[in-house]
């Protein structure tokens, strides 16, 4: 007890430092990396399209891994099975891709684009 009283100031300072460290860590926590995220769906792109058409809102911001055929390629991404557009995290990866290849892609679902009638993924990486 005596010790506590004697070192009151040190303890208070220590608690303050720890507290602000915690607040700092919480405030500036890093973004979740797609590479380390566990996908909630893994399988054929055609199966995903079927599942997503039931209710796409359930898939909002979820990480998935899909496999399917590359049907078109542009500067920033590729289209899988004509219906899923995957925007790449690193567009350089696209240089390795050719049309008609069968690929496995990990990405984050951002929603159903009704202007172009396709499902949109971003932060995609090759698996």
């Amino acid at each position: 007890m005596n010790w506590l009283k004697k070192h009151k100031l040190i303890i208070v300072v220590l608690l303050l430092v720890l507290g602000s460290l915690y607040v700092y860590k919480y405030t500036y926590k890093p973004h979740k990396l797609i590479e380390n995220s566990i996908p909630i769906f893994k399988g054929k792109a055609s199966l995903f399209i079927q599942k997503a058409s039931e209710n796409l809102n359930n898939w909002n911001s979820k990480i998935i891994v899909i496999s399917g055929r590359v049907t078109s390629i542009d500067k920033e991404g590729i289209t899988i099975n004509n219906e899923i557009y995957c925007q790449f995290k690193n567009p350089k990866e696209i240089l390795l891709i050719k049309e008609n290849l069968l690929l496995q892609i990990k990405g984050r679902v951002i929603g159903y684009d009704n202007l172009l009638e396709e499902i949109k993924l971003n932060q995609c990486i090759l698996k």
């Binding site: 919480y26 405030t27 500036y28 926590k29 890093p30 973004h31 979740k32 809102n57 909002n60 911001s61 542009d74 500067k75 920033e76 991404g77 557009y85 925007q87 951002i110 929603g111 684009d113 009704n114 202007l115 172009l116 949109k120 971003n122």
Partner: protein, 180 residues
Amino acid sequence: MKNLIIITIVLISQTINAQKYFTRTGITDFKASVGTFDPIKAKNSSTTAIFKVNTGDIAAQLFVNAFKFKIALMQEHFNENYMDSDTYPKAIFRGKIEDFSLNKLSTQKDFNLSGSIEIHGIKKEINTIVTINLTNNTIKIKGSFSVNPRDFDIQIPSIVQNKISKQINITITYELVEKT
């Protein structure tokens, strides 16, 4: 003869339809800081836009959850507390670029853009000027406008009210290519 006319009509209508330009990866930025330590700004590089060059009609759509902030926590709060992106996943714009014609695009030119924007489930009319140019068959549209979060029923807690500006500045940069 009749067949020939039908074929001609079909061909003509196809060329008219083909006059569409689009992007899937348009950039929409916003800034909402008032001199704070951490700037409140974010970038959406997944904006879809479709532009019919013969009529000037333009539609753009973005997913709120694709806005990227520097600070992860800010992004979380933006989606969960401010924009309710689970309930209102999209922001949509439908409008018209007035007096547009591809022939006018020999150099960079300013046009009037008007239309309605829907954010957080609420529609509002906007009017702004956009700069358009055409290079290598790519139409580049640039512009900016301001919105007030209150108009879209976006509640900002009083504790941070001084840090978020009343007028949020939105900038668009869309590079459209011809849709085949």
